[in-house]
Symmetry: C2
Subunit: 375 residues, 2 copies
């Protein structure tokens, strides 16, 4: 399902093609996050035509709680429920149990947790998250893992990793012993853990590789550790991952993070940042980011960037966008979300072009630094 097309000469950046029954995905790629089966404030046809998204992510934990698998199954699966014909990746819920739920309790069998919505009790096991993702019908499902916090002790990280490994073995078996519910193929990705400890990260990469998932994610990063440490762990992990499988760095990140991680061999990303930050007025551009709420834009009566193909950049004056945000107008959220996602997907195309014509290495570090600056 994955073709490695090219590896860059002076970095570990790769070009690939990920094939699914809902379409092929050119990597490196960023996946917009549609937590509750909607990429917030963006319409499905805009995601396809304007953002040029190739795949989106939806959250198993959230959809399991609302609207529930029965509703989505009755609608014919997640693609049909949300009228989305391109690929979907669903996570396993492991990260949300760690970050959102109350009173979680990890047992050998699985993770007991209380819903963050109503306190109701639930259990996710390596097996039932496969069943849930069969009901959702995502093209790519994730195995259940535990995501340890940062910082955590070597001992905790090691025990947690071993639990994740046992869960992933059971999850892989559950996947191999079940069939899709709909008329398209599903694949399963495993997740490497190990905190910020080199030997654990190596061990986990090898263990997860041996389970022969169709793709491998790097989990447990971007949870509060210094950025340099995240890059280091990523770099280390990709050295121990097979070349013929797609690599997905979960929950990362800002534009600079993406470039640095691609240079370290990552193919896939997801993050709420472009949409969440858009709703707070942060606009990403090729030359840095801006905060539209800043008074400097109040009387700025020209568009932001006539050369960038979004309505926010070309069509509207900055004074107007500022006014929309100052007054909580929904249109502001729409324009900024659409812009930031379009920017992220533009960045991935730019990266792919530069890997293809061997100009990625000479370009990415300076560009990452520029994009990391506030304008």
């Amino acid at each position: 399902m994955f073709e490695l097309k090219k590896t860059a000469s002076s970095t570990k950046a790769r070009l690939g093609l990920l094939k699914t029954d809902h379409g092929n995905i050119k990597t490196p790629i960023f996946m917009p996050v549609g937590t509750l089966a909607s990429v917030k404030a963006v319409k499905q046809d805009e995601l396809v035509k304007k953002v040029k998204a190739q795949i989106i992510l939806a959250n198993t934990y959230h959809l399991y709680l609302r609207p529930g698998c029965d509703i989505i199954e009755a609608a014919g699966g997640l693609h049909s429920f949300m009228s989305w014909d391109l690929p979907i990746l669903t996570d396993s819920g492991g990260y949300q149990i760690f970050s959102l739920s109350d009173n979680r309790e990890l047992k050998e069998k699985g993770a007991h947790f209380k819903s963050h919505l109503d306190g109701s009790k639930h259990l996710f096991t390596p097996e039932n998250v496969v069943d849930i993702q069969r009901a959702l019908g995502s093209d790519i499902m994730m195995a259940l893992d535990e995501c340890p916090p940062y910082p955590c002790s070597y001992e905790y990280a090691g025990e947690s990793m071993k639990l994740t490994h046992r869960w992933e073995k059971r999850g892989r078996e559950a996947f191999l012993n079940t069939e899709p519910k709909y008329r398209h193929k599903q694949v399963q990705f495993g997740i490497v853990q190990g905190g910020i400890f080199e030997d654990l990260r190596k061990e986990s990469a090898k263990y997860v590789t041996d389970l022969d998932f169709e793709g491998i994610a790097i989990g447990g990063l971007s949870v509060g550790e210094p950025t340099e440490l995240m890059y280091e762990m990523t770099d280390l992990n990709t050295d121990y991952l097979p070349k013929d499988k797609p690599r997905y760095l979960m929950g990362v990140g800002n534009p600079a993070n993406l470039l640095h991680s691609i240079a370290r061999g990552i193919d896939m990303f997801d993050c709420v940042m472009p949409t969440r930050n858009a709703r707070n007025g942060q606009i990403f551009t090729r030359n840095g980011y801006i905060n539209i709420m800043n008074a400097k834009w109040k009387n700025h009566n020209v568009p932001l960037d006539p050369d960038f193909p979004t309505d926010l950049c070309q069509k509207y004056k900055m004074s107007y966008i500022h006014h929309l945000f100052r007054n909580n107008e929904i249109l502001g959220l729409e324009l900024a979300s659409l812009h930031n996602l379009t920017f992220y997907l533009w960045l991935m195309r730019e990266v792919r072009n530069r890997i293809a014509n061997d100009t990625f290495y000479s370009w990415y570090k300076d560009r990452a630094e520029i994009m990391d600056r506030k304008i």
Copy 2:
């Protein structure tokens, strides 16, 4: 600026063409409300291409307070500020002083009021609302009036009407003695008042007609009085208005209200209902309205109406729209707002076609009754 094209045979319904420098408007017409220079949750290009809006309304009171006339003037006027090339009508602020502001005090000179935002003190006069609307640069501006509450005594209604008349006379003079600030023509509409009292309504219609505004609005209705009384006053007023001027019933209404008022000779409408109610989950259709929050839609796995050309009706399952609303997803607000406005503008086209081919009379009463039912 107004051509009366046809009057229906068995009702007072009219076909007209209202000409402005930003384009011609076929009447009867509904004007989507863009209070703060944004029709809530709808993009400008969607208003043109999908809703097929011909003109929108913006609120002088709101724009005067936020972002302020200086900002809009620096941006080159309201059209330029909000990137909207079709006609705009602005109200005078009279209604918002009545409905929103604290501690208003009416004097002969004008209306003193405190901002509903920060309590700051302001004065609107017949003259300065002309100046403000010159700065906004709307194609159609409204004269300042007082909108009395319902119920109110005959005496209050009469005194209020007389004050409105004196203000309108001054407002008309201010309009005639000032020039547009931008390169397009502006016109001014007067407003008939008189509460629910027949003789006052007649007197006001005659008085306002004599001031020779380019169009005449009927104000002070849809403020809590019984619907039948609103129709009665409208019917009475249009009998005393000149045939060659457009007639605008302010702040009305639901689909049935529009049909009944068109039958009584009204050409123009505005109302927040299609967008505000959309945000609360009320969807208008040809066969009645629905509340998308209702549990009956939870598992309704087909689109609402494949024959009606909105994404809400054709593209998405009702179960999905229900899910979006249950979870406060912005996409739900977007789809419902876009649908309701598209429906309102479709209704106006349908009405115009039926007046043109003389099938309005036989159609409108039954259709109004059907559209007034909850599905």
